[in-house]
Each structure stands twice: as C-alpha cells, then as structure tokens.
Homo-oligomer: 319 residues x 2
C-alpha cells in the first residue's frame, strides 16, 4: 500500500488530491488547465503531484499510484487518449506520466471516475448497483456494480448523450441529428431556453436576454431566472427531466440499480429538476422498481473525481 493521488482534468481547471492508504483526502491542489501542448499539460500534472507531496511533507517514494480522469475517450486496448478539448490525440498519457513521475498511472474517462468515486465514497456508498449520469457541457453515464466499473465492448459504455430521438430536432457536435445531449446538458438547457424565447416566452428571462444577447444565455441564467420566479425557466428544467427519464426508465428495468446519481451543472438546479425526474421515471416503471430506486444528486461536490481516480488507480495498481 501507500499514498495515492487522484487528478480530475477539465477543459478549464485541473484539481489534484492526495490520499492516504485508507482513502482519506489529505490535501488538494488546483490550477488552470494548460492547453498549449501535451508535453506542457503532462508537465503540469507532474508538477501538481510534486506540490501536493511537498505541502503534505510526504516523500515521493511513498507515492504508490496516480489516477487521472479526463474528458476524453480512452482506447481500452491501446491505452491511447483522445480528448477534443485538450491537446491530446491518440496520446499514451498513462505511460508518459508514469515516466515523468516514476509511479504507475491509470487514465480513465472523467465521468467514469466521478461516478466511481460517488459509488465508493459518495451517494452510492454502501450500495451494490450504482448508475451515475453527469449533465455538464455534454451528457454521459457510468455503471458500477458490486465495486466493478463497467467499460463495455471497446470501452464504449456510457455514451447515453448520443442516443438519437426522432423528436429532437437539433444537430449534435458528434454529427448526428437528435442526440439526447442536445437537450439534456448545460448547453441543452440554454438551447431550450433560447428556443422558448424565440417562440415568444415573456418574463424575466425575456427581459434579461433581448434577441441580440440570446447567444450568451447559459444554463446558470436559466436557473437564476427560475430562482427569481420565472415560470418558463422552471419549465425548462422539467422538460430536461422528462428527456432524461426516457433513457433512465429502460436503464432501470434493464439493470435495477439501487441508486441513480445525477450530477453536473444541470443537476445542481436541485428539486425543480429532481422532483419531476423522479415522477417521470416512476410513472413508466413497475411499482417494484419505484419502491427501491433512489434518484439523488452527488454528495462529494468537486471531489468525486479525485476520490474515484485515486481509488481506481489504487485498486488497479497496488497489490
């Protein structure tokens, strides 16, 4: 055993956390993501690890494993990483970082690491079957059953944002039309609100965003308008919950999770989103599922991914 570090790499910020061998978080370090080149990004990750150890006055020799979660696709056969919002294209991140740090390293998708962390230490703690969904810039899921993170064929499990529905009219960044992510995500919430304003909604959102400023509208603005009493803004979250339920309902019947943890920017809207979500899911399922299933937000905040990647690395790399 030994100390481990978990790193959550985002398109904007990087957070790293140092954990002791019992999985307790000892300290964190945060920085703006360097995106100039893969070498500089990897150097930054190594530096953050060094800083953390120094701050906690722990020798690098006691560091046993490092786990990285990042918003990208990791080829499960080759280990090569491709991330659209980072300077990484078919990049052997784990191997390169291992050489820089002289410590074994795992690299996995950030949503998988967030859900893994929540399953072990967050809203899924003590439960056997955990489905996690994050609604941020995009939308994705991860499935942890009896402590095992599921990868699926080709490591492709979890891309539930790219299910196409014929009644969703928008073209997705992935090239398909009608992807769930175009409505169920932070950008999807903003898009729904912009569409509503174009169709003639009146109220706070309309006053705050005249036509020429609508492109700047974000999901946070929709939430703020709801908080301030705009009924249309509330409807956007209800509609988003409805859309999400269309993928959660079959997932529940298929897998019978103990809990579905829904996180990310949209989910932080709280009960205006969760209450209709629970109702939509319940009304399409057999009562036996409804009685068991919990649908809740995450409980570790920005640390979910740190716990997840540190524990994942420890489980995979420390014997």
């Amino acid at each position: 055993m030994g100390y481990r570090i978990g790193i959550d790499v985002g398109g904007t910020n990087i957070v790293a956390g140092l954990f002791d061998e019992d999985g307790n978080l000892l300290g964190k370090s945060k920085a703006s993501t360097i995106k100039t080149s893969s070498a500089e990004l990897l150097g930054q990750l190594a530096s953050l690890c060094g800083e953390l150890l120094e701050e906690q006055q722990i020798s690098g020799r006691l560091l046993a494993a490092v786990g990285v979660g990042l918003p990208g696709f990791i080829n499960s056969e080759t280990g090569l990483v491709t991330a659209a919002n980072l300077p990484l294209q078919d990049n052997p991140v784990a191997e390169r970082l291992r050489r820089l740090l002289d410590v074994p390293v795992t690299v996995e998708n950030d949503v998988k690491m967030i859900v893994y962390g929540e399953s072990l230490r967050g809203s899924g703690q003590g439960l056997s079957h955990v489905l996690g969904v994050t609604l941020g810039t995009g939308m994705a899921s991860a499935w942890v059953s009896e402590g095992r993170l599921h990868g699926g064929s080709g490591g492709l499990a979890g891309e539930i944002g790219h299910i196409a529905f014929t009644d969703i009219p928008y073209v997705c960044g992935c090239g398909m039309r009608g992807c769930l992510e175009t409505v169920v995500s932070a950008s999807g919430v903003a898009r729904q609100a912009r569409d509503g304003l174009s169709s003639g909604w009146v109220g706070l959102l309309a006053d705050r965003f005249p036509p020429e400023q609508r492109e700047e509208l974000t999901s946070k603005d929709v939430w703020q308008a709801y908080q301030d009493g705009d009924a249309f803004a509330g409807q956007v979250f209800q509609r988003t919950a409805y859309w999400l339920s269309r993928v959660l309902v079959p997932s529940v019947a298929l897998l019978s999770p103990d809990v579905i943890i829904v996180g990310g920017g949209v989910a932080s809207a709280g009960e205006v989103f969760f209450e209709p979500l629970r109702a939509y899911v319940a009304e399409s399922l057999h009562p036996l599922y409804r009685e068991r299933l919990m649908i809740v937000p995450p409980s570790l905040g920005e640390d979910s991914g740190l716990y997840g990647s540190a524990e994942y690395a420890a489980k995979r790399l420390i014997v």
Copy 2:
C-alpha cells in the same frame, strides 16, 4: 467436480439435461409439466434427474449439482420462488429439491438461465458482454458481463417488458398501461395482427381469420401468413422490431454489449424481424457502436436453458 443436471421448467414442458464435468451434454429427458401441486412438481423434477442418471448409467453419488430455471420471480434474499403459471407461491424450491435429491440446487429465473447458457456456449461464446432478450409469452432480458450474471437490486434486473410507453394503448397483465410486452412478445404480435385486421387489413390473414375467429390467432399464424406472402404480416414483425429497438438503443449506449441475442417465439421469424431490428438500432446510435455490435438469434435452441442452469449451478455450488 462431478456431473451436473440443468432443468428448464416451462408452463407446458420440462426439459432436463445431464452434463459431464467439462460441460458436455450427455443426455436429455422431457415431460409435460405437472401443475397439480408444488410437491408433485418437485417430485417430477427429482424423478427426471433419476431417469437421466439411470439412462446414462451414472451413480447418483457422482451428481455434484442441479440447476433449475423457471418462469418466475426468485427473491434473491430469501430464495423463495413465486411463479404465476406454476403451483409455486413463496416456495423454497431450491431447499426442498436439495432434500429430495441430497445434492445442492440453484433456482433462477428461466430467461436469466437461457441467456447465461447462450453467453457461455451459444451465440455469446467467447464474447465478454452479452445482452439477451427473450420474446415469448412475455418479454424479459438478462445481462452477462465478464462471466457474471447480473441480478440487480432485489434481483429485479431484466423486466424490460414492463416499461410503459405513452403511445402503447394496451393494458398489461401486470396492471400497468402501455407495457412494451403488450406489443413485443408472441401475444403482442398476435394482438398487433388482430388490431390490423380490425382496422381493415385485407389478404391471407384476413381470409384465414374472419372476425369471429380472430381471438384464436397466434404469432405463428402471423409468421405463416408472412411466409405465404401476406405483406401486412411482414409489417407486424417490422413494427415489433421497431418497438424492441426503443429499449435496445439506450441499452447499447449504456452498456456497449458485444452482442445482443434475441430469442423466443417472435425471434424465430428470422430475417423479416432481425433485418429491420438491426436497422432501427443502428440509425439511433453513434457509428462507433454500430461497427461493433452484433444482433443475432440464439444458437443452442431449446438447450440454452439447460446449459445455463447446469453451468450456473456448477459455478455457484462446486468448489
């Protein structure tokens, strides 16, 4: 190690199979299901085991485990079995059969055992992530990943027939309205055909089933009419494929199976069903999934459940 027996209990017939310690099927025995009482049914299962051993001239002392698959719900905590079409209500089947045979016994849901058998020895052999669906009188699924059969919270995973859709008008036997099973199952196929005839379809099916005989129409009649050239009959299978795709699409994005094995009476219709099914699933998924995923019929015929339950018992009970 030692010999094992797998038993597939249906509402009409029971089939039992004797396997050697390498999992080779040595012989089978078949009988009509006795439904008078649980004691007589359990006695019948014990007799079938005795017959099999005798036929193969194998001493009962060499029998190491018996696995039973049956169409019912098995409480994963108590082991009690409830099956609507069998004389079993909160019945400790495994424990009672163990006493009759003096051999350890597992009892599991028949669909789970069929899919487990197909994953090990049938269309899923050699593949890591296998989703199985059976479309018989009802509709259910099972998920086998890296050799592990998934039960889910409360053992409730797999009841995908009881997902309610607002655009399905029928009331299900479970009490809900709009369950997928009311259209995607053998009885669902017959129901779709009856509805079509009521709405004025002409052709072979209409000639063969005048209004006063429509209640007798079965999925086999629909298939026969299609074979004989009735275009409307073909449409019923296409429509069934469309409905099934609505639950398979999210399942693929969630889990990324290597293969989806679709069995049961409806699936035996063949390509008139599988070809549109593959097309409907493909058109709603990202190309990365389409390239990997296979959607195929089972390959072990009526023996899937025998292989499944025998292997399941061996894995759970033989050390």
